[in-house]
Symmetry: D2
Subunit: 387 residues, 4 copies
């Protein structure tokens, strides 16, 4: 196998990011197979053709089911809104296609369960599924995991994780599909809180078992878009009801015993993309902020008294995860590099015949955490088992 022919379903902002990942990864990493941008699928023929031309996909289709029957497609990459993930992924796996699916895995726990079951069954046949929590592939995050899971900060005592944005602070921001429960499934909780949850579990190597929290829609009505899709549409007439949360506050208990506090907010004025995590251990700590994504702050509790402090490691050295393939030391990577790293890791796992991570089971677990937060919120914020 020297080529992996990819069909991508969907072509929003995530489609651009995934395209860049497939395009660039083989130019910097020595991959066991070369991804080929074979087919781009979307309902609106004209838009798809234009996206395919711009991003470099060889062919287009307006029906995702077409990929199921095509022997020349090896991988289905799903970047549609969450409500279609389950149907597409399950069918693709059944058709023997490897699947990369954007997060969150699905809009409901039930869908996610069906997807994880399908993925487990497919894996037994050597067909693999992965969910796209790309922030795991930021070098500073991968380094944080290396340090924490190898015992570098001792026993985990406390986690603080938050994902802060502000694009809904403006009351005139329109009622886009991401603000409608039937399309997006969830709001700040599912879209960005999911990243905070995944990162906290990835870095600690532990899972959340119980949660307690509150979700809220701070701005409850917003102007309607003329067309139903897209964040950038022209504002239409009248207002509609926002049916997803824009602020989620919750606490979680890890299976190792530690407590974590979480904030997912689109009401954090001035914070553009602040996915932050700090893990405090019995002998050290790590801290990360996506708005300063090339740095990891590490506190070494074993340093001599009077010399302790957070060390700001610029994670741009050849020794660091993923970094050696790119530029000389000290040169910054950006947002999209995670998608190249994701493509690389996915291709390597497929080529090696091993399960890529995070698996659909991992994605399902995040979905269960999200569901438990929602149930807790409905039950006056009381502690709720993730299940």
């Amino acid at each position: 196998m020297t080529t992996l022919r990819v069909a991508m379903i969907g072509y929003g902002f995530m489609g651009a990011a995934h395209s860049q990942g497939w395009r660039v990864a083989p130019r910097f990493f020595d991959l066991p197979a070369t991804p080929e941008m074979a087919l781009l699928v979307g309902r609106n023929g004209g838009s798809v053709a234009s996206a395919a031309a711009k991003w470099g996909w060889s062919e287009t289709s307006s029906d995702w089911r077409e990929v199921l029957d095509r022997d020349d497609i090896d991988v289905v990459d799903i970047v549609t809104p969450g409500d279609s993930h389950a149907e597409i992924a399950i069918a693709a796996l059944a058709a023997g296609k490897h699947v990369l699916c954007e997060k969150p895995l699905a809009n409901t726990v039930e869908e996610a369960e069906a997807m994880a079951a399908a993925a487990a069954e497919a894996a037994a046949r050597g067909v693999y599924a992965m969910v796209g929590f790309t922030y795991r592939r930021v070098p500073a995050v991968a380094l944080a995991r290396e340090i924490v899971t190898s015992g570098g900060i001792g026993d985990i005592r406390q986690v603080r994780a938050e994902y802060l944005q502000d694009w809904l602070v403006d009351e005139k921001a329109p009622l886009a599909w991401r603000l409608q429960k039937e399309h997006a499934g969830s709001g700040a909780l599912g879209d960005i809180g999911a990243h905070a949850i995944d990162l906290s579990q990835f870095i600690t190597g532990q899972r959340l078992v119980d949660v307690a929290g509150t979700i809220e829609t701070v701005v409850k009505e917003r102007p309607l878009l003329e067309s139903g899709s897209g964040l950038s549409g022209t504002a239409g007439v009248g207002v509609g009801t926002v049916t997803v949360d824009d602020l989620a506050l919750f606490t979680g208990r890890f299976d190792g015993g530690a407590l974590g506090s979480y904030v997912a907010s689109r009401m954090s004025t001035g914070r553009k993309n602040a996915l932050r995590i700090e893990v405090s251990g019995s002998n050290g700590a790590i801290a990360f902020d996506l708005e300063d994504m090339n740095a990891l702050h590490v506190y070494d509790g074993a340093a001599p008294a009077g010399r302790q402090g957070f060390t700001k490691i610029l994670v741009t050295e050849p020794e660091h995860p993923y970094v050696g393939a790119w530029w000389p030391a000290g040169h910054m990577l950006g947002y999209e590099h995670g998608f190249s790293h994701q493509a690389k890791d996915f291709v390597e796992a497929i080529a090696a015949g091993v399960q890529p991570e995070p698996s659909f089971a991992d994605g399902l677990h995040v979905q269960r955490v999200l569901g438990a937060v929602e149930r807790s919120s409905e039950e006056r914020g009381a502690w709720t088992n993730v299940g």
Copy 2:
């Protein structure tokens, strides 16, 4: 009235801070009355004498009740552990002494209620009581309040507040009085969480009405001290049970409607004294960190698109609260300046015959919030009315 003769009860670390406040305030501020460091009271005669000599108190006593009958004492300043606050404060107020009492106001809501009632009764007689949330008097905090309560960030949408320390990360840190419920009343929640609560209410001008949270003792057993007092005592034989929390996570609802998230932790490895607060509004935000206490970060949502960002204001200009009395622009203030500002504000209110702030009623409200968090924690973290 040109002199206010002060008796201070207690002489721990807080005694040093209050002494510095009384000593220094009149050297920089033009006060309507000069505080006189008249009497230092503590049970251990030798230690008190030594503290009085070092800090500059004229006289000492081993019995706080002595102050009640002395006409030459105008102010009673209480810096003892919380379990004695109520008794001393109520008696002093009854005896016609103005009272400054360290926070938290008391160890229980009941005590705090009695104190607030006594203060209200005394105020009617022109005798005033104040509780010592000195961080209100950090210039950057006072500036934050000015900006927020004057509408500078619009409607308040979200609050994040945390007080992070790490001095209990070490499992060998001994079982000092602050870790014993009978003396300290509460742990991280009451000692440092109280500051986060007060600051969030002070800056927003709003009060918490409901809370939901969890408190926890991460390290449950610690070495016994040979003597029962002081954090720095020699570790003794055996271990004892820690009876207060060292980690508290909670959520609150303000009377204006906004949600706030709170962390109070002594398990935040590497964080020494990180009292942080961020208030997000419909048109801006402010952010503060006590570890960088001379700075306030302000986000102006009305700035032109493309020019927005957090402005780091060095709060060391003559225009800033309290600052003009000190040094030229750009010269840093430190922790203890809050105690001079507290002394100044207290003396000015007493001289003017007006209620100094924060009042015992304010302190009682914080106590009620603390109590509600504890009740919520006992009730699976569910939302609980502050009462």
Copy 3:
């Protein structure tokens, strides 16, 4: 014209960066012509073939002169060491090829003068040349120029610029070609100091007219490489003399009157790629650091007293230069994006038949500044005219 067929001469680290620029630019920007990665040229056939395959160049050649006669090559992109820039660029321009040449323009002022003359002559024929100071295309830098040249900080009073690295701190770092005067022409001064000079002139819109400075080789002997090329070669036997500087300190006078101070160092332990510039004006200031390249700090002297401070603008909004083509607000760009921006700007200028910037004349001016610093250093650091 819908395609611009590019031949790139050279294939070191800069070759990877330029390749990424040509590859990615048309995927995100709507270009008037599409660059085609037609031909990669390098002396070592095997290495070139391997680089071409990895980076996606269609053909290879071992002789750069081949491009001169090929009608199917529109652009010559020069990424070789500085000693070959003049010969290749002049020949390519004479052959009617547009030229993009890496900085510094040449190893000597004489060569640079010849190149600038050739470029001026070619421009009259509609054939254009540009020199690759890509840091101009970091969005935060481009925003800084917008602000400063539009009067946003008033009259320019003072400039501080420094480019700090540390890869020569280690005395065992080998004697690579960049440390040999015959190949590299200059050391820290010419390689990274040139960037600081260009950025200071670009942002201020002014030119340096006099300089005074000192260049130094702190570590004077280094281990020989077995092979003469490349930074990453195996250390050979014996040591050789470093013939270029590793530390340059100089002062410059701008034509507008302001003074600037410059540091270019490969001895700044712990600084990996810290290209920093601060421009102080009569009514504001801007500050930038390449190690935090998505941020620009702007001080607005017209803000009300007590509200002034440096505003940290995250230059990741659609309003910012270049940014709208990439990701949603708040998503970070990295080092290599500058090369896409360079490709875009170059293609647009060529398509429009206008001179792309920075021109060879700009590159020559930087070269003259570098030469004047060297002369000053030889004359006891005295002020020297740039000429």
Copy 4:
């Protein structure tokens, strides 16, 4: 000896700072002798009386010569403008008084030489003189010196030091005494550049032997004050010529061989009090900024590859210089604490009969460096021996 009776000559802003030092030091440090604020001297009787009352000096005088004959004065503390330092200090030392003199030591090298000679002669009699470079006593600076002079960063390779302020950016800032050469001797160079020089020598343990630089008066005319003294006077009629520099850029060579670059500016818009120093060594680095004065950034070149970075040490732990006497870990110190530390160090040296540091000889050396920078500036910026 249990008391040191101090007479302070002068009562401007520095007088307030010194007063605070004398007042507070004995309250926190166990001193071998207690400083007594005995006599405040100033020409304007009313102002002196008012300052003495506010700051707590027992007596006042309008003639500094009075102190020479008074047996009850042990220490003369000089905080007048630089043009009177020599006369007072030399007379006081001759009269057997220990002397603490504000920096810069004098307005000319000649005066400073006479003072150093007088101090050397007095020291032989057990009478000591010290110059007030208080920033040496910022704990983070003292820690930096400990680390650097004990070899913690290896051989010193490069120094960058700058002192940036902006209070002269405003062209309407009046022509105060600090801007008149006959009173102030020097401008940014002598007033704040002197601090940068002293700090760089203190931290490295080395001395500057050659310098090359340029000094400049950016704003050459300013409004006249009605009265000639003080920065805060009412602006008068007309303008006058600024006779001192407001911007100084220079380079220095240390006796250990390393180069240092220096900036002293009052034109650095937005920088309020940014005294910054970074020392780069063969095996590490330290960095400090007075605007974040409780932190020291340390880079440990011996840390494992991939784990290196600048560690931000909060210099607020009991292990750190001076800190243990103040507050619990994590509590910030401010500007004025340096004056308490200075008082402590001075009193301890006097009590022990040893030379306090920095000596007048140290102050003279700084003066010689300043003089050499001025000579270099007059000689086209060429390298000039400090002498």
